[in-house]
Structure formats: C-alpha cells, structure tokens
Symmetry: C2
Subunit: 392 residues, 2 copies
C-alpha cells in the first residue's frame, strides 16, 4: 500500500529522474496522491495541507494514527478512504511515471520555482501537481489571458477568437485555453501564428491527444508553449475532469474571456470559477439570434462579466488587477446559505436559490461551482440539488 | 409684448377652444413660453417654478418687478431675457395655436389629468407643455417602454426592434420611440402591426412629418397611439431639438432599450438621459464586427446598461421599479466636480474628466448630458469643453 509505495526503490529512482534537483520524496508522494484522487478533491487538499503530502498518505494507509483534520466528521474521512484506497497500486503509480517519461513531461509541485502560485488561490481545490509538456515557464509568464469558448463555434466566434488571441500573443501575453475544437483551437492557432506563447490545459493526461484531431496542434503548442494537466499520464478525460480542468484555466489566468458559448456551455463553468476566484471576466457579445452567443450574453447578465469587443478592452480587464478572493468567513457563510436553500430533496434553479438565500445570481453561480467541486451539490436537469451520501 | 399677449382677446378665444374645461390663462401663458424658449431651457423652467407661468412671463416683459430667483446671478437673467424677448410676438403665438387647431392637436399642461407626471422628474428641464395628436392617454398608460436606435440600422437591428416592439405592444405595453428611420420606424411599425399602442416624440412640431418619408407612418401612429412634441406647430426640427426630444423619450418611459446604435449615435444621448433619470436602461448586443452595434456595446461597458436579448428580459427591466432620481445635493456637487475638471479652456474626453473628477464614466456621461442641456458644456470633436458666455 501507500507507505510501501513511498519506499519502493524503482519508483524512487524513476521519480529522482523527474526531479533531479527537487525533493524526490515529496514528488513521489504527490504523484501517488494524483493517482488515487480525482482532480479537485477538497478532502485530499485539506488533508495534505493539514499533514503534508507524505504524512497524509501514511494517514490513508493507517500506518500512523487516525489524526484527521479537526474540522472533519469521522464519517467524511471514512468515505474519503473508501474512494482513495482502491486506486493506490504500484502499477498505477509506475504507469504514471513511465508515461510522463515517454513524452518527456516534466513535473511541477508546489514550492518549485516554476510552480504557478496563482493556482493556490483554489485553496483545498488547488492541484496537487502539474504535468507539463513544453515550456513550464509559460505558466508563470505574465500576463496570461484565457480565451475560451464553445466547441460548436460559429465562423464569427472563431474569427474573433483568432483576432484577440493573435493580437494578445503578438504583444507578449500567454494565451491560455483548453485545447478543444472551436474557440479554444482558434485561439491556440492564432497565438502560434503570431509567434506567441500559448498553454493548453487538458482534462486527460498530457500523453493523450484529446481531441484526436488536435494531435498536431497540441504538439505545436508543446513546442513553443505548454500542454499541461494535473491528472496522470494515461488518464482519459471524463466530464468531471473537464469541469475540474476549467478551474485551472481560470486560476492560472490574469483574466478570462469567453468568446462564444451556448446557454449551457462548459465555458460558463470556467467563467464561474473565474468569478469565484475574483479573476476579471470578459464576454464577447454576438447576435442575439446566434445560439453560440447566448452563453456570453448570460455572462453579461448573470455573472457581471465585462463586455469586451476589442483587444484593448481585453487588456483593460487586468489593468487594475482585481486580486484573488480567498475563502473568507463570508464565503463559508454564503455556502451555508446556498445549502440551506437547497434543503434535503428539492431541485432548484439558480433563481429559486437566489430567492431563498437572498444571494445574487452571480454569487450563487460561483458558490455552486465550488460546492459541486466539493461534491456537496449536483446538477439535476435545469436545477441543482444537494448531493446525497451515495452520489457524493 | 408678453403681457398684452396674455390679454389678447383672439388668442384667449383660440386657447379656450383648446382647453374647454381647463385653465385657459395658464394654457396661454405656457403656449407663449413654448414659443419664446428652446425646449429644455432650464432658466425658463426655474423661473416658471419660482413664479408660475403667468407671473414669470410678466417678469420677462418687465411689467412687474425684477424679482429673479434668489439663486440667480443678475447677469444670467439678463442673458435669458436677451434670448427670449425677440421671439415674443403675437404672430408666433397665433401661428402655434392655429397650427395645432389645423391638425387637431390637443394641449397638455402640468396639472391636467393626462399630464405624464414622469416628465416632471426632469425638474427645470421638464417640458412646459406637450402637443398631442392622437390618444393623449397613451402617455400615461403603463408600462411604457422606449425602443430606440440608429437611423442607419442593419437588417438584424430592425428585425430585433420589430420582434421586441411587437411582443411588447401585443402584451399591452406602450412602445415609445422617436419616429425616425431605422430602428425607431421598425419599432413603431411592429407595435402597430401587433394592434398595440405606440407613441412618437418629434423634434419638430406635431404638424410636420419628419422625416417626410414617415408621413403615413406618423398618421397611423396618431390614429391609435400618439404623436407628441413640446415645440409649437410649425417648428422645424434642429439638432438641439433632437437632443432635447430624447430627454422626453427617456423621462416618459419606464425603461429605455437601445436596439442598435453607432459609436456616436443620438441614441446614446437618450440612454444618457435614462441613466441620469434612473430609468432602467437596456442594450441589445450584436456582432462586434457590426458598427451599428458599437454604441450598444458601449452602453454595456460605460453606462452599466443591462444586456437584453429577449422580450422577457426587457420586461424585467422595470420589474422591480428603479425610481426616478431627483436632483440631489450629490448631483449639484458632482456637476461642480465635472465643471471643475473641465477648467476654462481644455477639451477633455470623458475618461480624462473621470481621472480629474474621480467620478465614474457613467456618472459623467449622465451629468454631461444635463450640463449640455443647461448650456454649461459643449461637445468639441471627441471631447467636451465648458461653454463660453458667447456660445452659451
């Protein structure tokens, strides 16, 4: 089990190769953690913060006392162990390390010179590590601006994404996106054409080209910028991992711009994370008659996004630096109000939650994103409900 | 001169016909005022408020003592007299009355049952009277929503204007607009087609079809709704009167929606008045690549307009009734700050005024509209400057 993993000579040697100058023990512990948890697991984040990655891992295996974080109920820890333990195999960890070696991915862990500290704004949801193909310094080179949007984009949206990303990259900004078809691809390509730097955050391992049709594009991105993921090599993208990946795009960026998005586009999830983190959020308007702009208009209406129509207006977004919003007592308080509003069984729309909780729709949107990440709430059709013990 | 005008038997008789049950003396005094001042003359408004329309008129002719409002400097009153007196002729007043009779326009003055009290939010800039062709109750029938926009509109804008105006009119809203080509015309026509009520505010007299090409449309509007103006019959529209007319569209409406507008469209002036009056303001987004949507995006960015994409979203604008904003000490104070920022000679952009005064761009935009109305500031190229004594 985990402790023996940390003492496994072959694993230790392999990891030593990945971090020739760093703390190989810490690196191996974090790699094990990244193998056994899903991204954004707040329980793991809390435990690691409480005990450090190595001790926390020993806690999981039971080799040291059950000193769980004081704020935890015992049941919560039991449930976490139940979902982590089955994945803690030597083969899984070795696959992750070997996979990274094969594609020459490098490892970033907190404390590294190149660790993008802005992701620490995610608190317990911060990534445990990051795998990088390409230039790891792209993640800390300012300014970084996320240009994201719908996969099912229109010619209009792709044109705008290309214009903005090209101008920004040419002027030295790092263009961050999700490597997807549509807006993301248009943004990455324009940044590359402009001779600039661009970063793609993937929902699966950095050794897997997803989507397949972007194999060449992702290779080009890694050549001059970076392809990044928090999940181990060999990991397939899942819906959850896309949602979790979106929080990294928001956290690592100085501003997030949604170019085109449908009414329920995943880009709204990225935007929600940006709002929760206090990252400036821009939305590009489009024709009311275009379904691919409906999400952008929703951001203008419900998320207090700034309407951006030119590259100069995008640059203004981070001009006077809205800082990161830490989780404050107010946030704890508001989370409670949202959960109270949901009750135990009801499925409610954001508007209904607003009426019950007295919080603004933007605030609720941001909190639901975090609560979903915590497994406290789940989407259900057009609304939200509390996660049950089983679903959580 | 004016006093003899009030005692002129022919004028008295003619006005009696216009207000069979009302106060003919008050009506005649206000008609004289409307003949001698340009719309929105704040000095006239202050004087009338101070002394009543009849006494104020006597003041102007000098037949009673020069008891000017205490807050006035003597010079200001002299200047006002100098611009009012030359217009105070019996012929001009008789022309106004006869012109109204010919097109069967009715007269509305403050205190009438049908007087739209919402225009009194304009304070000293409130209209002295209103001439109405058609159903005067349309002006007080709620809800009234202004659908305005560029004359040089696109097919997209006209389609959206027609959709919104048609839906709103069909549901019982009064659609208010300016009778112009483009968006205004599309809104009026759709309201008529829907069998609803629509009101056109004109910059010239209600007896003049402007634009000429809308002669039939204006006639149709008067048949079921109302064609309204504060200037006497026979008066031609001027640039100033268009700007002044815009404040009435904003003041009489429960919400103002700009469907399409160029970067310097007159609709932004209407929007500025809406903001200054605390009327909910909506802007319809469009493609970033369309010059006719640039003004709408500007409203979203600089005027804190609400992004509206559906009729339901337009209805939400007046849902929880943002009330009128009276001119408060804060407003006086902020006007002073804007004038201070302008200094005596400089031409400044709104952004520069913002830096100097510490006021928000929206606030400045609203105040500049009022100050322009007061003749305190003038547009100069892309910026603003203080009006000189001569230009004022």
């Amino acid at each position: 089990m985990s402790v023996s993993l940390l003492e496994d000579a072959e694993l230790q040697l392999a990891v030593r190769g990945l971090v020739p100058e760093g703390d190989a023990g810490e690196a191996l512990a974090r790699i094990v953690w990244s193998v056994i948890v899903e991204p954004g697991d707040g329980d793991a984040g809390a435990l690691i913060e409480h005990r450090g990655a190595r001790d926390a891992l020993s806690l999981v295996t039971g080799s040291i006392g059950r000193a769980s974080p004081p704020q935890w109920k015992g049941r919560r820890f039991e449930e976490a162990l139940a979902r982590w333990k089955p994945r803690a195999t030597r083969e899984a960890v070795l696959d992750a390390v070997r996979g990274a070696e094969q594609v020459r991915a490098t490892l970033l862990i907190p404390g590294d010179d190149d660790w993008p500290v802005s992701v620490d704004d995610l608190g317990h949801h911060a990534p445990i590590l990051l795998w990088v193909r390409g230039d790891r310094r792209a993640l800390i080179s300012p300014p970084r601006v996320a240009i994201v949007g719908a996969r099912a984009s229109s010619g209009y949206g792709e044109m705008m994404a290309a214009e903005f990303a090209g101008d920004l990259a040419a002027a030295g900004s790092v263009v961050v996106s999700g490597g997807a078809y549509g807006i993301d691809g248009a943004a990455h390509r324009a940044a590359l054409r402009a001779g600039g730097s661009t970063v793609a955050f993937l929902a699966g391992g950095v050794d897997r080209a997803y989507p397949q049709g972007h194999r060449e594009l992702l290779r080009s991105i890694a050549d001059t910028g970076a392809v990044v993921s928090e999940v181990p090599c060999g990991t397939a993208p899942t819906k959850w991992r896309f949602l979790a990946r979106n929080r990294l795009i928001a956290a690592v960026s100085d501003a997030v711009v949604v170019v085109e998005a449908g009414w329920r586009s995943g880009s709204l999830n990225t935007a929600g994370h940006a709002a929760a983190l206090g990252r400036p959020l821009g939305a590009v308007p489009g024709p009311v008659t275009s379904a691919t702009s409906a999400g952008c208009h929703r951001l203008l209406r419900e998320y207090d996004a700034r309407c951006v129509t030119t590259t100069a207006e995008i640059r203004e977004l981070w001009g006077d630096g809205a800082g990161a919003v830490e989780q404050t007592p107010r946030e704890d308080h508001d989370r409670t109000r949202v959960l109270d509003a949901l009750g135990s069984r009801s499925v409610l729309t954001t508007a209904e939650i607003g009426r019950r909780s007295g919080l603004s729709p933007e605030r609720i949107g941001a909190l639901l994103g975090l609560l979903e990440m915590d497994g406290e709430v789940r989407r259900d059709g057009t609304g939200w409900r509390r996660a049950t013990a089983r679903s959580r």
